[in-house]
Symmetry: C2
Subunit: 349 residues, 2 copies
């Protein structure tokens, strides 16, 4: 079974996949072999995934048959496994624990091609409901400390299967990057007695430098210190710590702003590879809800992360967020028929 | 001039390159255009780089002409610039500072192809001396807080020029990842009154599970909680905080273990892309030297870093370090004539 190991210097946890260990010669050539051929996520191929744990489908249809519009299955190659005892060990000075956890795949629609930029808003709403439903379910496992929802789009961003899908992972530890956000937000709150995310929303709405789209419940903007060109954040305007507390009306607004934001990024950057991550608080009770504010991070993968970034945790972003935001706003303001590629390029020159 | 910006939640600094800002259409197609054609780092093309700040060359040859065997020049497209005032500003709730710093390129040999695996040991020694000389020089700028030496090898690891070169950056802040190492090492020292790196060396030498090569002064091994398959660490066996304090005899031993380690990785993984980073302490006085221990990290880039890693700072390593280390040790034990590709592959099966 997989194993969690802690770096003795930084405290960073790593999952070591002992079961399906790759041999050196398996790395020698990494080719993009995923295009074309058999798709395990397309309708009609339900037997080629593990049995579904959730699906939205007509009442009279059977599980693991066609007819669904959203389908959640356990990951066939899970990073963590739900079975087994949760144990911690020493190995000399090192710390390890059994790789207990859950790892599911959410197949976002029957369509092999359409993703957030192209799907109808009501389908994105269904995806968001499924995220929420699985999060509520996974919280019942008391061994777990954190649930993360993310999506990799495009080979360069790490997607190994082409059919649009996202992933849900429940972890037995709060990951380092989440802890950093929690600690930072907590320090800010101690000092100002205000939520740092609420302050960010106020400033981004007031000066409009980095804002892209806004509706009743959500704002999308490019973070002031974004690590990647066109890195984008979507945040609920009302302070909310847990993604799963989202209101029904908010789901409608979130689906709309997601479709708008992803459409703009797709037009501007020619359907870029990206990573999409929902940042929410850990389980209830683990953290004070006054200082944390859930949000979505979208990271287009246009640049290579190199030695400098790996060595320092210090990123170089070659496009100021203000410039990128202005570009996206101009694109949004254009009538649809003018949004041809030639027009887009000339708008920047 | 470039600008440093701080993320208000996590405290992470980002360099925003305002001068040579990239437009969206510049990202649309990233092609590998670096192969073939004109090389600014090859002998005879010295005029196409900024004027050299250091070179090892015959006494009677002129700067910026042929004859050198190691050459250091300012980066033509620096992430940070040495000129200008060092200022800090507020922008509402956000923090920024001018992008003061130094960014140099070290051309590792006149050869366009040969890198650490192929260069003679005495040439690697010369490269190491140049690292040390530049570090000593850069320390004289009192505005700087940290110096980092790194190398990107291969397009996938972020190298934009093919000719083997490394980079030296002086930064006005201590980067986050370095701070994490310092804090972790300090906590370990407070608890155990021992250096965590010295303890790691003792355990790796005692059980031999993850060790690869050892000589009088250095050990190379695969870290217990390595983030990447075949991630490798080279560490001085005697406790030393500053890379630039390296002894002359140690330079010889370091060149030897680097050549051996990189040769094994090249054979095992078919010349993989990698990032190479020297982790040393910040400037003297900034940190207590009892708990920090300089070391080298080598990160082959065989897997894609995806949403899960970006969202959590939690890595999935599909090859246990013990398996990878055993594989490299077997390779090292083979007579050279048997080290053909077919032999390597069959050794794993």
């Amino acid at each position: 079974m997989p194993e969690l190991r802690k770096d003795p210097v930084t405290g960073r946890w790593v999952i070591i996949a002992t079961d399906r260990a790759k041999r050196p010669n398996q790395y020698v050539k990494i080719e993009e072999e995923r295009k074309g051929g058999f798709c395990p996520f397309c309708p009609g191929n339900e037997h080629s995934t593990p049995a579904e744990v959730l699906s939205y489908r007509p009442k009279d249809s059977l599980p693991d048959t066609e007819g669904w519009w959203v389908r959640v299955v356990p990951n066939k190659f899970p990073a963590l496994q739900p079975e087994g005892d949760f144990k911690r060990f020493a190995e000399g000075i090192y710390d390890r624990m059994t790789g207990i956890g859950r790892h599911e795949v959410l197949i976002e629609s029957p369509s092999h091609e359409h993703t957030y930029a192209d799907l109808p808003e009501h389908q994105i709403e269904e995806i968001l409901w499924a995220f929420r439903d699985r999060m509520v379910e996974m919280r019942k496992d008391r061994r777990m400390r954190y649930i993360m929802i993310f999506k990799n789009w495009g080979y360069e961003a790490g997607a190994s299967i082409e059919h649009p899908h996202s992933q849900i992972i429940a972890l037995p530890v709060v990951p380092k990057r989440v802890q950093e956000e929690l600690q930072g937000a907590s320090r800010y709150y101690d000092f100002h007695e205000r939520c740092v995310f609420c302050d960010i929303i106020d400033q981004e709405r007031a000066d409009g430098l980095r804002a892209v789209v806004e509706n009743d419940s959500f704002l999308s903007f490019l973070p002031f210190a974004g690590r990647f060109p066109f890195e984008t954040c979507i945040v609920p305007k009302v302070h909310t710590a847990f993604f799963s507390d989202i209101q029904k009306n908010e789901i409608v607004d979130l689906a709309r702003i997601m479709k708008q934001t992803f459409s703009l990024l797709k037009q501007a950057l020619n359907d870029p590879p990206y990573n999409f991550v929902i940042h929410t608080t850990p389980f209830e009770g683990a953290v004070d809800t006054v200082y944390y504010h859930w949000h979505i991070e979208i990271m287009p993968k246009l640049t290579k992360v190199a030695g400098f970034e790996w060595g320092t945790g210090f990123y170089i972003n070659p496009t100021p967020p203000e410039n990128a935001a202005e570009y996206l706003r101009k694109l949004a303001a254009k009538p649809v028929e003018a949004q041809e590629e030639g027009q887009i390029v000339s708008a920047t020159s």
